[in-house]
């Protein structure tokens, strides 16, 4: 924990030493508020729950998480500090995990700062707070999934803009894997069981279940697995490309 903690702390310090963390948090709060009240019709629905709030999280993350993920490794490679980090007595896993956790914590802070909306809904009515807690957990897990994908893409690219665009595209595919938009591409030539497998990768399907308050272990496991697999891929990509 010690070294992972040190790497994470340093990374988080960098977020707050530059406008990055503040811009991310402010934009996240502003957009989530806008979406909830204008697109989601929070008041008009007349229901004491936060589904208009949580329903837009995947779309928010789709653009905001790649923005924070793109610099994770691309910047280290571009500035050359990756050479410094990789010649310190740390393992690849410690470095990858430390930086990932720092970015995840930054997102968690932004998510935590949406608490006024939770206060509001409790003031206006009597929502099921268990569902809200589950949805917060689901939202954070999904953000972690996006972030792990971004971490891997960022490790593979020296250019942050390229990393951003590729991450958005791949996250989009993962998000909508269970929907015709993506499935139609595979349905012509992929056998049925594999098609089901692709469909089951959908972020939205797993997230929808959690955000309705069904904290199924399989959905949680799914997101943890996604994070684990993409972080593992990050270590492999880094090992291959760090010195290029």
């Amino acid at each position: 924990m010690g070294i992972i903690g040190s790497i994470g702390k340093r990374e988080l310090q960098s977020y707050f030493a530059t406008p990055l963390a503040y811009v991310f948090i402010v934009i996240f709060l502003a957009l989530s508020g806008l979406f909830t009240f204008y697109l989601g019709g929070f008041y008009e629905r007349g229901q004491a729950d936060l589904s208009p709030f949580f329903n837009f999280h995947p779309w928010l993350y789709l653009f905001l998480v790649p923005a924070i993920a793109m610099r994770l490794w691309a910047e280290e490679r571009k500035s050359g500090s990756v050479e410094l980090l990789m010649t310190l007595p740390v393992t690849l896993w410690q470095a990858v995990l430390g930086k990932f956790l720092a970015a995840w914590l930054c997102i968690a802070i932004a998510l935590a700062l949406t608490f006024p909306i939770w206060v509001t809904v409790n003031y206006l009515g009597e929502p099921d707070n268990g569902v809200i807690v589950a949805a917060y957990i689901g939202s954070l897990l999904m953000a972690g999934g996006f972030l792990a994908i971004g971490s891997c893409i960022s490790a593979a690219n020296r250019n942050q803009v390229v990393a951003f665009i590729l991450t958005v595209v791949i996250c989009f595919l993962f998000m909508l894997a269970g929907f015709p938009l993506v499935l139609d591409f595979f349905s012509g030539w992929l056998p049925g069981p594999l098609l089901d497998a692709v469909a089951s990768l959908s972020f939205l399907t797993h997230y929808a279940a959690i955000s309705k308050g069904v904290l199924d272990l399989r959905d949680v496991l799914y997101f943890l697995l996604v994070i684990g697999v993409w972080l593992f891929a990050t270590t492999i990509v880094l090992d291959l490309k760090k010195a290029d």
């Binding site: 702390k9 500035s79 310190l88 740390v90 393992t91």
Partner: protein, 327 residues
Amino acid sequence: MDNTRAPRRPGNELKMIAAEGLVKTFGGRTAVDNVTFRVVPGEVLGFLGPNGAGKTTTMRMLAGFVAPTAGRAEICGFSIDKQPVAAKQKLGYLPEGAPTYGEMTPRDFLRFIGEVRGLTAAEFRQRLGDVVERLQLEEVLYQPIETLSKGFRRRVGLAQAILHDPPVLILDEPTDGLDPNQKHEVRELIRTMAPGKVIVISTHILEEVDAVCTRAIIITNGRIVADEEPAALIRRSRYHNAVSLRLQHTADLAAVADDLRNLGEVRQVEVDNHEFTVTAFPKDNALIVSAIGALAAERRWPVEQLHLEAGRLDEVFRTITTADRDA
């Protein structure tokens, strides 16, 4: 040439750098080709070579940043491939260009390095005080690194490398971007740290090799073409023990040159009409300076300067590195 190196006492194997048959190919190009050497405590090894010769790649393989295509490297007995963390703990490394985290202050940056290196708070305070004083970082300790001058940034990188007082130091161009005073101070720093430590520096400044290194390796096209102490390298120069006479403008250079050619031990004489200088090269490195002095007095040559050359490192460097290219 071996007698000036640190003695190979038993146990020294555990305190040194060993590179054996290091090879690195990028695509089809061989950047480093079968490089083998050992460095023992007390030695300051200078890595010399033209740009692109493979110096940085070799150092990166030693530091565990680049995996060799073939061969192996050990730091203090730990294989950089199989026990990378243990090896890296023994190592202080300044990468090429001294990369740091620009948005951090030197103080925060060094604290991060200290934490990762496993220094306790008390050790860190003591070591920080030491490196800040040695590298004169006091005045910039709380300014973001990216706002600092190139010289300060380089010194922050050096501070990072020596913070944990490692037994092995690998410094890629430690004085690049420093002004002459700072260069001098960094060389002093290397000299004072040298006893008991293994130090490898790369440089393309030849005077630096003479100033701080006890041994020099010249590498070109990825291969070691010379491995000896700087004094021995200098002796390879055709200027070694040559004598140059700078004469007044009234002198008859041709006559002087003829007289010098008639001296028994002179192999060759060169005349520079522009600088009014005549240079005599001895046979077999013989000492001809006293004979020439006597001759000059006898013939009453209008000598302004008489200079015994030790040899020119840049000339040796050029000869060695271009001979290999032509071959």
